[in-house]
Structure formats: C-alpha cells, structure tokens
Amino acid sequence: MKKAITLTVNGDRRELYVATHHSLLDVIRNELGLMGTHRGCDTGNCGACTIQVDGLAMNACLLLAVDYDGSDILTIEGVAQEGALHPVQRALVEKGGIQCGFCTPGMVMNALALLADDPHPTEADIRARLSGNLCRCTGYAKIVEAVGSVQ
C-alpha cells in the first residue's frame, strides 16, 4: 500500500508517494537519492542513518516515512552551506576522525544536535551522546576530540 506525503528535505519541499512499510531511510536513499545517510543495521543500533527530524537527531531506519508527513528533515547533504564544511565536519577532517567514513554522516548529525543542546559539552557528555553511533575504524578518540574542539 502507498500513501502520499510531503516532506521538507534540506529546505526543499518534496511530494512523495511512499510504501507504508518503508522507513524514512528507505525514502531518503531510494526515492530521494540522498546517499549520504547510510544504512548500517536497520535496527537502530549503529546510528549511521542519523538525520534530524524537526531539529531532533533520530535514526531514520526506525521511522516509518508515512508517520512523518509534513516534517522538516535535515540530512548530511544539507549541512555544508554553500560548499563550506560545517565546523564539526571540518574538525573531523582535520583531527583525523574519519577513516572509512561510513559512520561519519551519522556522527555529524548527532554531534550537531548535541552542540545545539549544549554548546560546551564535556568529554564525558560527548562520549555519552555519541554512544549511539558505532565506529569500527577510529576507536572514537579523534571523533571525540574533533567534536570537543568545536566550541
């Protein structure tokens, strides 16, 4: 079964006709072709698909698209403004927080939400908030350092 929904994605209004069992992740990747939001587990454990929905960081794999009709969605593609990386992205690049990079967009989206809530988080705050974003390459040290440097 399909249903018509409207989403605002990275500032653009998109009218979509989506299967009722498809997640926002399915729609973002397969209908909108925004491949920066990654599918790592489909069970809400890895955080690679983290997006912002009406300003809140959420796992797109856990959200049925039809439940978010009318929502304002921000994906990683909407973060860099006019080609300039956001300071969180730039810090991840410069501090070595990116290896394979598959977790990176989700890390960025969650870190942005963290910094919006608390512009001066402690290292423990950063580690706690990013604990829903798994990384297999970096051991997190340089990710935590990068996020902590953006204050």
Binding site: A19, G33, L34, M35, G36, T37, H38, R39, G40, C41, D42, T43, N45, C46, A48, T75, I76, E77, V79, A80, L85, Q89, R90, L92, V93, E94, K95, G96, I98, Q99, C100, G101, F102, C103, T104, P105, V108, I126, R127, A128, L130, S131, G132, N133, L134, C135, R136, C137, T138, G139, Y140, A141, K142, I143, V144
Partner: protein, 780 residues
C-alpha cells in the same frame, strides 16, 4: 630534508566522506539495476531434494530465479569446495536459490514463494564431534572432516623441556568474532552481452577476485573488471571470494541487467565470514634466570563448512608461537576442522590476536612463577634488531624493547613496586584505593606482526605509475586499495616528497582493475611498505625524467639537482626561496615538463614502479622462511578495575607503543592503533558471536556488543621510530598491531587485580564472576 614525511596530513578523501558525497558500494545505482536476494538453507546439514521456483518466477517484477541447476561446472574458493548454489547444504549460510527483481520488496517476496524439500543429514557442531570416529562427513570426497594439519617445529622441544626449571601449561577457548564493518557486504554486477562483467565491489583483493570469479563463473579473467567503491570498513572481510559475488554475476547474466546484492546486518552476521573459534593448549618452560626454553602449542580451529583464505590463519598463530620472543625450542600443531557451523574467514590480525592472547598470558604466568617482574622477564627474552629467528624471520629494525619500556614507563606500578624487580608474592589488587569490591590491576603484552608484506601468494608485489601533466599536477595510479586506513594519503605524501610537490597536488587513482597495475591486495599491514615502495620507485623514475630535462635547461648534471616546493634546482644553488634565487637556478616543475613534452621528439613524464619484496613463501613442509621484508613490534599496558561483585571489568587506561619504522603520517598511525584497540577491547571483553546448533544467536548490534565512544578508555599512543632500511622513508606496517596484544594485556591486568587467570574470551562479567565464585568456593 623531508617536508611531507611525518606530517599529520588529513585524509585526502575526508571532506567527501564528511559531507556525504563519497559513493560507497551500497550507494551504487545503475540504470535498469535489479535487486538480488538469496535464499539460505533451513538446515545446517541436508541434501536438497527439490527446489520449486515456479511461483517465484510468476511473481510480477521478478526477472531471474537461479538454483543449483544454474551452477557453472566448476568449484571455487581456497579449498575448491564451493559452488554458488548448493545441492548439499553444509551450513545455515548455504545458498539454495536467488532472485533478481525490480525492487528489494519483490525479490524478498519471491524468496518466500520458493519451496525447498530437504533430506536432513546428521550435523556436526563441534570440532570434537567432527573428529569422532564415524562422524558424518561434511565433504565425503575429502575423506575426513580434518581439512588440514599444520605441523611446525624448531629446535628440540624435548631438550627444551629437560632444560627447563619451570614448566607451565594451560588451555584456552577463543570465540567467533565478526568484523562488524559499518557497511555490510555488497556487490553490483553488470554483465554486458557478449562482453564483459563489471563488478562494483568493496573487495580488498580486486585482482585475485578477478581470478577467483573467472574460476567460479567459468569465464576468462580478462572479461572481468572490478571497480572498487568507497569501502565502509574491511578488516579482512574483503579478503576472499564469497558466493554472493558469483551469484550476483549469474543473476546479471540471466537477467541482462545490472544486479545489486546487499546484505542486511543480520545476513552479515549469519552469512559473512567470522573469525574462527579455537581451542588451544599451550605448554611453556623457562630457566630460573628468566630465559625461555620451549613452547608447545596444539590448536583446533573450527573453520566451518568451507575453506577460506582465513583457514591459513595458523600460519600467523605459528609465527607468534615460534618467533614472539626468543624461544629456542618450539612445536606447533593446528588442525583446521570442517563443521556445520558458521562460515569463517580472515580477520584483522589473521591469527595474531588469538595467538598473542595465549602466548602473552603464559608469559605473565611464567614471570610470576619465576618471581620476575613481567616487563623485565619480557625484556630478557625480547626480539632484537638485525637478528634471525629459528623460523627464518629476518628481523631488520626492531623496537620491541623500546615499546615495552615506553608502556612500562606510563604504568602506575604501585608503591610496593618501585624498582625493576617485584616481590615474589604478588599482592593482587594492591592498587585498589579503598580495598572494597573494586580491585585494580595492570597488565602488559607485546606483539610481533609482519610489517613489510607477507608472502602468502606467489607474488607479494604492487605496481604503480606516476605521471606529471603539463601543469605540474601529479597523478599516482597505484595497485593498492584504500579501505579507510589512509593509504591514498600516505602514498601521496611519499610521491610528493620524492617529487618536491605538495601532497594536495597529487591525485591518487586506486580503484579500477582496468586502470591500475596489479597488487595482491590490502592485507597483512602491507600497503605502506609495499605500495609505498612501488610508489616511490615510480616517482623516482618520473623524477629521473624531470631531472634529465632540467639538467639540459640549467646546464648542470642531473645528479646535482633537487626537487622541492614545486621547483627543480641545483643542490648547490643558494638555499633561498625560488623567487629570490637567480631566475635560471630554480625551474618550475610544470615548465620542465612542458619543455620535455613540446619539442621535436618530445616525451611526457611517466614513471613506472613495481615492488615485490625480497621474501620467501614459507616452505610447504617446514613452514620456515622469511615471509616479510620487515617486522613491526608493539607493546600495550592495560590498567583495569574489576568489580568483584558483578564481574564487570572496566579498562581505565590503555597505553599502546608501536614500532612503525617511521610514521609517514603520525595521525593516521594513531588512527590505526586507536581503532585496533577498539577491536582488541571488544575481543577481550565484549564481542562474541554465540553459536548453537550452527545458528548465530546474536546477529545484531544490540546483542553483539561493540565498544562505543562511552565504553572506550583513554588510549595513549606512543610511536617508536626505528627507521627500517627496506621501508619507504624507513616506514613499516602498523595496520593490525593496534589490537593484537590488547586481550592479553587486559587478561594480565585482571590477574593482577584479582589473582585469577582467565583463559576464555571474551572476559564477560558472567565469566569473570563465575571464575571469582569458583575460586572462592575452592578456597572455602
């Protein structure tokens, strides 16, 4: 004077990855692309009597359905024991049928319409059952469930025993572990009629995959092109051919369209290759003066239903057993045993995390029994530079002692242990501040790993081409593969240093078998050393051509020229910035290239390099030989706190020292060590794929626990530089060492804290608590 070597240069592809622009395997979409799905066996061991695909084929949107009837007439894989689809299922991973359809929903629906009739066979779910008399045979043609035995020996172990003042023995159990790459396995196959098969792949071995696929499909290797996408983690998973790859190709051949097969996370755990579980026994001896006398290991590895490259992990377990520390007498035996359990394969460290765990916990036991400080005992027996081990490893540079001393210097060794020598009676939990239920301890472990390639294939080589265009831009085309470790950046630094340009002026092409020269693959911590040497040779040849022309332009001999800051000048010219020196003394690189190009009989600047290290494959009978051109060393110190009421182990601190020869990019080296430590911590404390009756019981990230940002202890990385004579700018490999000694260091720290030796991984709260209760019961 080096300007780009040793710099903390950010990864060249990091900005694309940070902004969601990198194209991973999962992101590949081609016009008309179909989605494939695979039906796996419902039984761990069964004959397939009938597969009825009629209903699936009638489902609208289905474009191809394949079964074992569609298998090419060949077998593939390391043991030549696989076909894409099976007529006898030997594990729950075994592929029975596959569908390609217009979308994934339709493909999965079609799978549910396929009817399979099985005749169950008696299954074998343990190595003991597999080796029992009259055990059901998993591959009857092989005649036994014992696929292979590795026997290694040097010296005379009986004499070693006789010369020992002390002999200890222990047994160990090691778990199934999953690579847990953040991106699951994926391939897109596109077979063009009468033409070629193109694969978009996240493989680590593009050229061996060409060969393996040719074998699996029965088509020439020359018809296969492998394009590597951005790769979302590898860690050994991509070191082999897996059935889903020929299945995607066969679906594409049948449907005439590109076909994508992407694993779900659950599928990744169930059908991906796990690290082999092993049961190990170890005996070891030493003299009262602290010198090791002998080591004897017997290991049984459950390799599952088929043989992969991962089944040669005993070669590395053997190397650690024979050559980590100076041991005069060694015997090693490993049996690789077929079972109906999970499919297994290669994983980062390739046997080394396993063997370092048992060798280094035994080192601790021996030190304690001898009344020696654990670091001092290791220093007495440590490997040394410019030496050869009895196994035939030729150790050039070696910073093992420096690594041990460096991590020891970071350790809080307690007020009662000020000097090198310890008390004979250890005081467990002496670091415990409150003498409550939380006991603290420290532990050490060292590691030895190949760092200059590993000749496990006929060639351990890598090719490279360096070209310089008319604008002075440099392109490196390398056979090597980027899996996130930063090889493209390190190779760009090596080329930039050689040509005197900035690394950002170097583009790296490394992802297409039609473009790049051959390389055996990204494994064994080999890329910096092997691909680095190849890139350096290619850059040196390009520089020779540049200097040849520049020498004519400047009227000097080529051998007195140097390249730096994008300019070529005579070495004896005033050491001034180019704009300040005489106009003829410093030529812009681009001008030299154009001068060489645009003239009668002109030539462009293209340098080729090929590096295959001066090493040997191990002898097939004795397993001796120098398989690597250099060896990396490392040591770790773990400080832990054990909650004796819950069994919870918290790692408070991990210090990691590694001899990397020379750090081309210290930030990337730290990244390898910190990331390796995350895997090592998981191996030590949390990661275990629990398998019962051939079924993985925890195939998701909720139940298979990776260390998160909140779980990680502070990691102190210490880079020890020994300037290896064979490495590019002195560098050696580091990719695997970050995680190899971690489990041993933590186990030794737990012993220091609570006085209990844990010999089964992971050391979960349940296991630690059970060991505490058992000990308390025994002593009551």
């Amino acid at each position: 004077m080096s300007t780009h070597i040793g710099q903390r240069l950010p990864k060249l592809d990091a900005a694309d990855k940070a902004s969601g622009r990198a194209t991973y395997g999962h992101d590949v979409r081609l016009p008309g692309m179909l989605h494939g799905a695979i039906l796996y066996s419902a039984h761990a061991h069964a004959r397939i009597l009938r597969v009825d695909t009629a209903r699936a084929e009638r489902l609208p949107g289905v474009k191809a359905v394949l079964t074992a009837a569609d298998n090419p007439p060949t077998h593939f894989g390391y043991g030549k024991d696989q076909t894409p689809f099976k007529t006898v299922a030997r594990s729950l991973r075994d592929e029975i049928a596959a569908v390609a359809a217009v979308d994934l929903d339709t493909a999965r629906h079609a799978l549910s319409l396929i009817e399979v009739e099985y005749a169950p066979l008696p299954p074998v779910f343990s190595v003991a059952a597999a080796l029992a008399p009259a055990a059901p045979l998993i591959h009857p043609a092989h005649g036994s469930n014992l696929f292979q035995t590795y026997h290694y020996e040097h010296g005379d172990p009986a004499r070693g025993e006789a010369e020992s003042d002390l002999i200890l023995e222990s047994t160990y159990r090691l778990p199934y572990v999953n690579h847990a790459c953040m991106e699951t396995s994926v391939v897109v196959a596109h077979y063009q009629q009468g033409g070629r098969l193109t694969l978009w792949s996240t493989t680590q071995i593009p050229f061996l995959l060409q060969r393996d696929l040719a074998e699996a499909l029965g088509i020439p290797g020359s018809h296969i092109r492998v394009i590597q996408t951005a790769i979302g983690g590898a860690f050994g998973r991509g070191l082999d051919i897996y059935p889903f790859e020929p299945i995607a190709a066969l679906l594409s051949m049948r449907a005439g369209k590109p076909v994508r097969v992407a694993f779900s996370r659950r599928e990744e755990f169930l059908a991906g290759p796990a690290r082999q579980p092993a049961e190990v026994s170890l005996r070891a001896g030493a003299r009262l003066d602290g010198r090791l006398t002998f080591r004897e290991v017997s290991a049984a590895l459950d390799i599952g239903p088929y043989v992969s490259w991962g089944s040669v992990t005993p070669l590395v377990m053997m190397e650690t057993t024979a050559s980590l520390y100076k041991v005069p007498h060694v015997r090693f035996r490993a049996d690789c045993i077929y079972t109906n359990n999970l499919v297994t394969g290669a994983m980062r460290g390739y046997g080394n995390p396993q063997s370092t765990f048992f060798v280094e916990t035994m080192m601790d036991q021996l030190a304690e029994a001898l009344g020696l400080d654990p670091v001092e005992f290791r220093l007495i027996n440590a490997n040394e530079p410019n030496s050869a081990t009895p196994q035939g490893l030729v150790i050039t540079s070696c910073g093992m002692k420096e690594c041990l001393q460096a991590v020891a210097a970071t350790a809080d060794r307690g007020a009662d242990r000020p000097g090198e020598q310890t008390t004979v009676e250890p005081i467990h939990g002496r670091l415990d501040p409150a003498a409550g239920a939380h006991k603290r301890g420290i532990g050490f472990a060292a590691t030895l790993n190949v760092g200059g390639g590993a000749r496990i294939y006929r060639s351990d080589g890598c090719g490279a081409t360096v070209k310089v265009d008319d604008f002075g831009h440099v392109t490196l085309i390398t056979g090597s593969t980027e899996i996130g470790q930063g090889s493209e950046t390190v190779l760009a630094q090596i080329v930039a240093e050689t040509l005197g340009v900035h690394p950002q002026d170097v583009s790296v092409i490394n992802a297409d078998t039609d473009l790049k020269p051959w390389d055996v693959g990204v494994h064994a911590s080999r890329t910096t050393f092997i691909a680095g040497n190849a890139a350096r040779l290619a850059a040196l040849e390009a520089r020779r051509q540049i200097f040849e022309t520049a020498a004519e332009m400047l009227g000097v001999a080529p051998d007195c020229l140097i390249a730096s800051e994008g300019h070529i000048r005579a070495a004896d010219a005033p050491d001034l910035p180019p704009r300040l020196s005489a106009p003829t003394s410093a030529l812009p690189l681009a001008r030299v290239v154009r001068q060489r190009h645009f003239r009668q009989g002109g030539q462009i600047v293209v340098g080729e390099g090929w590096y295959d290290p001066p090493t040997q494959m191990v002898d097939k009978d004795t397993y001796k030989g120098n398989i690597s051109a250099a060896y990396g060393f490392g040591a770790q110190m773990a400080e832990v706190e054990v909650d004796t009421e819950t069994g919870q182990v918290r790692v408070l601190r991990l210090a990691c020292a590694n001899d990397v020869g020379r750090a081309i990019n210290p930030m990337a080296v730290e990244g390898q060590i910190e990331g390796g430590a995350q895997m090592g911590l998981g191996y030590a404390l949390s990661e275990e794929l629990i398998v019962a009756n051939g079924q993985a019981l925890n195939p998701d990230f909720h139940h298979y626990r990776l260390f998160t940002a909140a779980d990680m202890p502070p990691i102190e990385t210490i880079i020890v530089e020994t300037d290896d004579p064979g490495g590019p700018f002195g560098a050696k490999g580091v990719g695997e060492m970050g995680g190899t000694p971690t489990a041993a260091a933590i186990a030794n720290a737990i012993y220091d804290a609570i006085g209990i030796r844990l010999t089964e991984l992971p050391m979960t709260p349940e296991r630690v608590l059970a060991a505490i209760l058992h000990r308390d019961l025994e002593s009551a």
